[in-house]
Structure formats: C-alpha cells, structure tokens
Amino acid sequence: MQSRRFTLVMAAVAFILFSFVSAVALAQEAPKSIKIGASISLTGRFAAGGIDVADGYKLAVKHINDKGGILVKQFNKKIPVELVIYDDESDPSKTVTRLEKLNAEKVVAYLGEFASDMNIAGLGIAEKNKIPWVGVTIAVENVFNQGFKYIFGPNMFSFMEVAAFLDALDKIPENQRPKKIANFELQVDWGKECTKYLHEYAKKKGYTIALERKFAPDTKDFSSMIMAAKSAGCDAVFAVPTPPQSMTLIKQMKELDYAPKATCFVRGPDLSNFWQVMGKDANYIMTSGEWTPDMPYPGNKQLVADYRKQYPNKLMGMPVGNGYSAFQVLADAISRAEKLDRESIRQALTTTSIVTVKGKVTFDKRGVGNVPHALAQWQNGKLVVIVSPDYKTAPVLVATPWSKRK
C-alpha cells in the first residue's frame, strides 16, 4: 500500500513536471499549426449528412488557410489550421474512442458532427476532457440544461423551428390562414421538445393543436395518423420525421388526398436531393431554412461558388453551410482568445458575436446558439426562404388540394 501510494505520488509529480515543462516550451515557440479535431460519420447510416458537414469544414479551413491561418496574438502571427477528421462509422462507441484519440493528439477544440446519436456520445467526452465543442446540428435544447460548460450549439433549436413554422403561418393572409394544427410527434427527445414549444407558442399566437399522434423512428405506415388529421379538419401539419419518413408521409398524404394548407417536415425536405426524388409532390412542403445557397450573408456567395467548383456533380446540402458556419464561429473565438489553450477558447466562445454564412451567431449562458430562425419552402423545384428575421423573403405559398395540382 505504501509503495503504491509512493508510485502514485511519483507519477503525479512526474506528470506535473512534464506538463509544466511542456507549458513553458509552448510559451516560447509558436506551434506550426492549430489542431482542431472532429469525429464524423463518413461511412454507415449517417454518412450522407456527415460527408456534407465534413466538406463544409474543409472548405472553411481552406478559406482561412489561404489567408495564412488564424491570427493568434500570443505569438503575434497567423498560424494555419490543421483539421483532423476521423470516421466513426455511424457508431457512437467509435465516436468516443476517436475523440479520445483527438484529445491525445492535443486538439484545441472539437467540431461536432451530423447525426445526434454520435453528437450525444461526443459532447460528454468534450465536457469531461474540458475541450470546447462547437456543434452543427445539435438541436435538442435539453442537452444544454445539464450545466455543461464546453458545449456550444450554433444552430437552430427545436423552439426556433417551431417559432419559424408559426411565423410562416402568420405570414399567410388572414382569410387563408390555417387555424388547426396536427402535430405528429416523433418519439425522440427532439420530437418531445417540439411538442412542448408547439403547445406554448400556438397558444400565444391563437392556433389550436387539434390532433396529436406519436410515431417511432421505425414507423413506415402513417395512414392512420393522416386520416385522423384529415377527419379532425387540421389544415396544417408539423413533424420532425426522419428523411425517409418525410418521403413516405408525403406519398401517403397524396394517396389519402390530404393536402393541408401548410406542411412542415423539419428533416428530410431539407436534403438537397429532395426535389430530385420527390418531384412536384414536394411542392409547398416547408422545412428548416437554417442555411440555403441563396442567403445574402457575407461570404456565402464565395462558399457556394467554391463548393460548386470543387464538386461540380454534387448537390449542395444544408449541412455544408452549417459546417462552414460552425467553423467560422470557432475560428473567430480562437482569434479572440489570443491564446491557444482550450480554456481561453471556451471563454472566447461564450462572448461570440459573429455574422457567418447563415447569419449572426451568439450564445446564451448555456451554450444554446441564437441564430436567425428561418424557414424554407419548396416552390417549383427551388428551396426558397420564406421566414427570416434579417431580410425580405419570398411570400409563403398556400398548398392547393392535390386534385388541383398539375
């Protein structure tokens, strides 16, 4: 027992000495690069979004490194960014080991990934390792009510999606405006939160939720929900289905001749290939408008142009813009931190206020991002922003009955 304690103490001493020495060494010489790490699903079930996010990061890094990197005051020079991305195969357990590996490689910050299973596993690691973590698609508010200090979500949250949807309804002329909303609740925490806020905001704005039905991520037949909404006379539908579910929902709504004036599926219709696969049946469908290629924010044009040049055959999805924007937030914080240690970067992140390609981003005390809440709608083959707090948008189109569509 004695000797074991002795070993422990010796190990601790050695460690402290080592850290001290390395800290001194670091203080004297500027590192060759700023290491930032991300574990992303490049393969497996969530690869589609993952690859888009990674592309967004890579493009943002390229743009910054083209200008010499990020200015770090401590060394009084620009240092290029080295982005290390590991594939987690859409497996949350792998996310954990990949993030630990990045920790061992001494990254100064983590960037988030696309799918929430991995993000949830990852953010715990960030918090315990005390490494600032900037997410892209972590839309569950509950995550930020745990008192975590290192987690930042510069993206739209459940309550923003709901608010944007109701804003869109508000923009419809009084005589055509839907009144009764059907809420299809996906049985995950995100769906639950949306339901909570939908109730809260709808009450404030004078809409009734005339129907509520739960469904699971593996649900493939929605006919009962659709018929119930139809017979309850609901003229608006809100849901956060998985992408394949949103496709099935639209097909079944057409089959059952249910065409509410407004339909908002937060996930799925935001995919860049949505019109390509759904054709004109996608018309009038509303979805998250967090980022689109047409947004007038600074830098967005260049992002779109460079992406199209680099990947001429790929459709440009929303995760690309979100990834790009997340990196902008992190780079801004690093340059304001003036130092390259994790704690300073975290401090700097809390006071973020930067206009990215998707608009202005700030964080509240919890790390919940405040970003422009925007909603988009498919209008004749184009995803058009219909709600934005920052600029004038296209008008909201009210869906016509299926029989009247060409």
Partner: protein
C-alpha cells in the same frame, strides 16, 4: 370506413413483406440456406430500379426486365463462390454457416451501396404514384394494387412452377431427397444453382416495390427482419403460406395501430410472432410436426 382504410394499407404492406420474404423462403425451404442478406439484395435491386428511373425514366415495373436477370446473375455468383461449398455440411451447420456468410454480405452490400450511391435516401416518384382508385371513401393507391397483384402472381406462380413444371418438380425433388433425386437422373448441381439464382432473382420484385417507398443502404436489415418473421409464421418450406403470413402480419400491424398507437406498431407485430413461435414453431401454414 376508416377501419377499412387501415386494413387496406395493412394488406398492401403485408404483400410487400411477402415479396421480400419469398426469395428467402424458397432458398431456406429448398436448400436449407439461411440467407439473411435477402433484404439487402432487395435494397440493391431497389437501387437498380431507382437508377433506371432516374437516368432513363424506365418505370420500376418495366425495369424488372433488367433487374430480374441482373439479380439472377448476382445469385449465381453468390452460390458458386460462397454457398455451394456448404452442401457438404449437415443441415444445422449449413444453416449456421450460411447465416454468418450472408451476414458478412450484408456488411459488404451496405458499404458498397454507400460508396456507390451515398447514404442519401432515394425514392421513385412516378406519374401514378399517389394516385388512387377510389371505392366510395376507400382509397386504394395504384402502387398498392400493383404490389398486391405482384405478390399474388409471384407467389402463386412460384408455387405452380414448383409443383407443376418439370424443372420445378426437379427442384422440389432435390429439396426432398438429395440422393434420390440424383438417382432419378436429375442434374442436382445445375438444379440447385438455378434454384438459388431464382431465389435471389425474386428479390428484384421486392426491390421494384421498395423503390416506390424509400431506399437507403441501411434499409436492407429492416426488410430482412420482416422476412424472417414471415418465414417463421408461414413455416419453413411453405411457399403459399408466405403470402398469408405477410397479410396476417400487415393486418395485425394495422390493428396494432388501433390498440396501442403508431409508435408500437413494430412491437405488436413481433409479439404476435413470438407467440406463434412458442405455440407453433413449425409455422401456421405447415402441417407436419416440428422441425
């Protein structure tokens, strides 16, 4: 009326389940090979349908003319490289090894599909998708009608083929008694090869219908799950039973929505399955005693 509408969708879903399961049933019943890659093969076939539609505007039901022989060749390749060598094993070992090998195939096909076509969801939206035949208030989608008809034609057709054609009978004979069939002058090697290819080719039918729903590389295992349920419900070796088992599962799931809500649909179906498994492990549509 609403109730009738539920049941209609239940019948449509059940027909699709049966279409996915029929190839698995044929291969398992005839050759004792447990191919859990069947759903993934349907996924590959569905991508075929999607690509033909996207690039050449060929309707999924028309492109069957291309996907069917394509999947047949895939099946022949699979058999020659992997499954033929298992004939030397006893039935239990054959079942186990084929299950494991086909599990490896699931991994390969999923990854391959992601690399080739990305993990983005695809679907085929034809001019007639979403259109329905209205019987009063009851609305029956044409794609659904096509699914039901396809399931009936394929499954009864297969049954007829096995029972009433010379080649079908020889497949049946090989499955009943390998050695005896050989003595009767049947070319066992060729017969099993073609039977296996046929079983895999059947996944093209499922693929055509799946493409009208949604396809992504990961859906294979979901469809396999449904197919496995059907195999047990129907009983190994039952061909016609697959259709009835599919309809049963589809309708039970539709009723489950009534009883416990949409989010427990999957559980209701599986519970029925487990009950049948416990009480009648030989299946509902097989008369002979347990295996």
């Amino acid at each position: 009326m609403e109730f009738a509408q539920y049941i209609t969708y239940g019948v449509i879903n059940g027909s699709l389940y049966a279409l996915v399961a029929i190839g698995l049933a044929l291969i398992m019943g005839i050759m004792g090979i447990f191919n859990i890659a069947q759903g993934s093969l349907a996924m590959i076939a569905a991508y075929g349908s999607v690509l033909f539609f996207q690039h050449m505007k060929i309707d999924p039901f028309v492109s069957l003319a291309l996907t069917l022989p394509g999947m047949f060749l895939v099946g022949v390749f699979m058999y020659l490289t992997m499954f033929m060598s298992m004939n030397k094993f006893d039935p239990g070992q054959k079942l186990r090894n084929s299950m494991l090998v086909s599990f490896g195939l699931v991994l390969i096909m999923e990854t391959l599909a992601t690399i080739l076509w990305t993990a983005n969801e695809r679907t085929v939206t034809t001019a007639y998708s979403g259109t329905v035949m209205a019987l009063g208030d009851l609305r029956i989608p044409y794609t659904g009608i096509a699914t039901i008809i396809l399931a009936i034609v394929v499954i009864f057709g297969l049954h007829f083929f096995l029972k009433h054609t010379t080649f079908g009978k020889s497949i049946w004979a090989v499955s009943q008694d390998h050695d005896c069939a050989m003595l009767m002058g049947i070319n066992v090697k060729r017969t099993t090869l073609v039977a296996f290819g046929l079983g895999i080719a059947l996944s093209a039918f499922a693929g055509a219908v799946v493409s009208l729903h949604t396809v992504s590389p990961a859906v294979g295992i979901d469809w396999t799950n449904k197919a496995l349920i059907l195999i047990v419900l129907a009983g190994v070796g039952s061909i016609n039973g697959i259709l009835f088992a599919g309809l049963l599962l589809g309708i039970v799931e539709a009723l489950g929505v009534y009883l416990v809500g949409v989010h427990y649909t999957g559980v209701v179906g599986l519970l029925i399955f487990i009950i049948v498994l416990m009480l009648r492990p030989q299946g509902l549509f097989v008369r002979k005693a347990g295996v």
